[in-house]
């Protein structure tokens, strides 16, 4: 049976919020770095991670590369870093 779909559908507006910051310290924190796969993104992020450890007492940085720069971070990586990390830094290119 044919199903008719209204192509004019309308755009559903999404509203999102930022995570609350209040009071979370970088000292002792775990920070996730998400490499978007563009050239030198990993080198830049590692340098940033080193600085966060040296100067802000970050305990650990976790570097992960997403499968392709043009697609969002896959849900399993959001879940992994979201569970393990206190902060996340996605970046960067070209």
């Amino acid at each position: 049976m044919a199903v008719l779909v209204d192509p004019t559908g309308g755009v559903q507006e999404i509203r999102r919020r930022m995570a609350p910051r209040g009071g979370r310290s970088l000292r002792g924190a775990r920070v996730g770095l998400v490499d978007n796969g563009k050239r030198n993104a990993d080198v830049f992020l590692r340098a940033l991670g080193d600085l966060l450890r040296e100067r802000y007492g970050v305990r650990e940085v976790v570097l992960r590369r997403k499968p392709h720069f043009a697609v969002p971070v896959p849900p399993e990586l959001v879940e992994e870093l979201g569970t393990q990390c206190d902060f996340v830094i996605p970046g960067v290119g070209d």
């Binding site: 930022m18 995570a19 979201g82």
Partner: protein, 76 residues
Amino acid sequence: MADGILFEERGIPAAAVITDAFRRTADAMARTQGLEGYPYVAIPHPISSLSPEELRVRAEQALPEVVRLLQEEVAG
């Protein structure tokens, strides 16, 4: 940008870093993702041609803003 917003929504503060050639794209993406005005750190474009030493300098320059965005409460 979209990635940062995904983590924000999960309750994890994020500081997205882009190169400044992508400002317009980043602003548009934030709007599309339902978080207009989402702040990010823009470093000079490009980085793909830089040496590790030059990238360390870029990281040093970006550091204060990255820290600010991770820790400072932002309206929105």
